[in-house]
Point group: none
Chain length 187, copies 4
């Protein structure tokens, strides 16, 4: 059985992605979680702290998903493709989490301090890009720029699939990753 705390977080994710932060009153989270109003404030000091917490937990989860299986004995390009697929799979498996993280990535609703602290979950990914540049495999662009372009590409494909604007075929999938790779690889 889920703890009340986790139940509240899950309900919050569902409602906020569906309705947006301000269109999701605490009263609705309370009702859907089937807890008393006081209970939510027992675990989270305020609505802001509630979504800060949700953001942190999801950011950590995504950071871990990205580097899944990455320690295999495969070459750089294959690892690039693997990470791309890992991120895409995370979105596919957790569309709500994708939506939430997209919406609040640049939102003033999440305190800056929270955002900075959660950067730490992306150290492995950052190291991967950095090593690619050092090895002369990747273009010499700022590491964070490459990471953001990469992330943006995955998100763009996933969003369109998710909204039904295009259909996902194996070919499209591979071509899009290839396009992403071509944008940063040298030659």
């Amino acid at each position: 059985m889920m703890s009340k705390r986790d139940l509240i977080l899950q309900t919050t994710l569902e409602l906020i992605t569906e309705l947006g932060f301000h269109a999701t009153p605490m009263s609705l989270i309370i009702k859907k979680s089937d807890v008393a109003s006081g209970t939510i404030y027992h675990y989270f000091k305020s609505k802001e702290e509630l979504i800060d917490t949700l953001y942190s937990e999801l950011k950590e989860e995504m950071g871990k998903a990205i580097i899944n299986n990455i320690d295999q004995d495969i070459n750089y390009k294959e690892k690039f493709f693997l990470i791309w697929k890992n991120l895409f799979s995370f979105f596919t498996d957790n569309p709500k989490k994708f939506e939430f993280l997209e919406d609040y990535a640049n939102s003033p609703l999440i305190r800056k301090e929270i955002k900075e602290i959660n950067q730490r979950h992306y150290e492995p990914a950052k190291n991967f890009i950095e090593s690619g540049i050092k090895l002369g495999i990747l273009r010499d662009l700022p590491v964070h720029l490459i990471m953001n372009l990469f992330f943006g590409n995955v998100a763009t494909l996933f969003r369109m699939i998710s909204l039904g604007e295009i259909e996902l075929t194996n070919e499209l999938f591979e071509n899009t990753i290839q396009s992403s790779w071509d944008s940063v690889k040298i030659n």
Copy 2:
């Protein structure tokens, strides 16, 4: 002198990018615009219609900015670079408009119908991409996917510059566009 209607729209843009839609009460727009509460409702039926209107006007403005100067006698790649630069310049010249359009591109706050209607301002850009594919210059990916990847790349660079996360040099600028081009061109 600015009409009251336009004054209200401008104030709305400023406040909404700074505070977000729900944290920007009509009362604040009213106060900062120095009009009476009745006046705002004379021009816009509701808060929703106000931002629908703002969205439409900005979307149109951006659509026009993109194709500025595009009818010159230059080759395809040069046009690709020009459009990239046009979009980037529009963001640089209008950072608030960039922010607003980014925030509300995927927001449920803008009615779907409004979003669809404003697609028409991007016909020229769409035609440009389509012709590139037909001519065998661009990869055979769905047109809208290419457009979104393209838009995403420009936005990613601009956002990082704007937030001060990286510094814009001529070299970085050209390299990033080149990276964007490499992701879609054939060969």
Copy 3:
């Protein structure tokens, strides 16, 4: 007809003296005043500002009541008695105002700044005491101490009468004022 603003102030006085500040919810003031909840906030920014305003208005009113008729051609002691009676009459005529001013005189609920500003209504009274000291009629005690003792004496008598703990006769009234006078006069 009373303005909504004044109606709210009057209702507030009645409820707060009866129930106390914290036991008087805004919702009750709203209901008894028969206005909309928004209306109260149109005139007063917060509950705190509402009672600050009430305090200020009553303090001013009491300040004026005290010096009523004082410019007559009567001697010092007679003026002392007159002021005593003026204050006592103000309490008798406005028992709720007495109660409110008593309860909030030393309350942290009224901002210090508000208290200081309202001292100005007691300048004439202060001058009267000061001149008494200078003329050698009154004991050489700090002016404000004399004022507070004086005020305390009037309030003590009135409170007991008001609570029905003793009965007011002309003799008791005169004796009490005489007692007050004897405490500060020289000889």
Copy 4:
């Protein structure tokens, strides 16, 4: 070491004088006392009973302080002065208790029944005043009026000293008591 019960009472006194009854939530008393919420309800049935108890204990303590040393072989006036000083000393030694007793003397928060019961601690003081009247030393005013005027005078001086509005010198102290005596003694 203090019992948890007494610890709670002491914390309550401190918080309530600083913040006021309604601005002092049970949760704060609980936190500052470092006890569990259940514990406070083990000793006191409700918040009301908690302050009723506090009131009673302090009222008794003050009653005892007043008559300290009064059985010496000194004359009536000297006893009057002694009681005055006893009360003033009690305030000086226990400023929080003074504040609490002042604030709640006329408060509807303390049940009437509690107030009446605690009158018994002031029988000796009452007897002292009554005998003064019978002996023809004091003015023939109602006993309780004299007691209240007396108490009010001590409180007025103490409050001003305590707030730093005037400075306490030996001369001022003696003069103020003399003033208090002059207000009730015959001649």
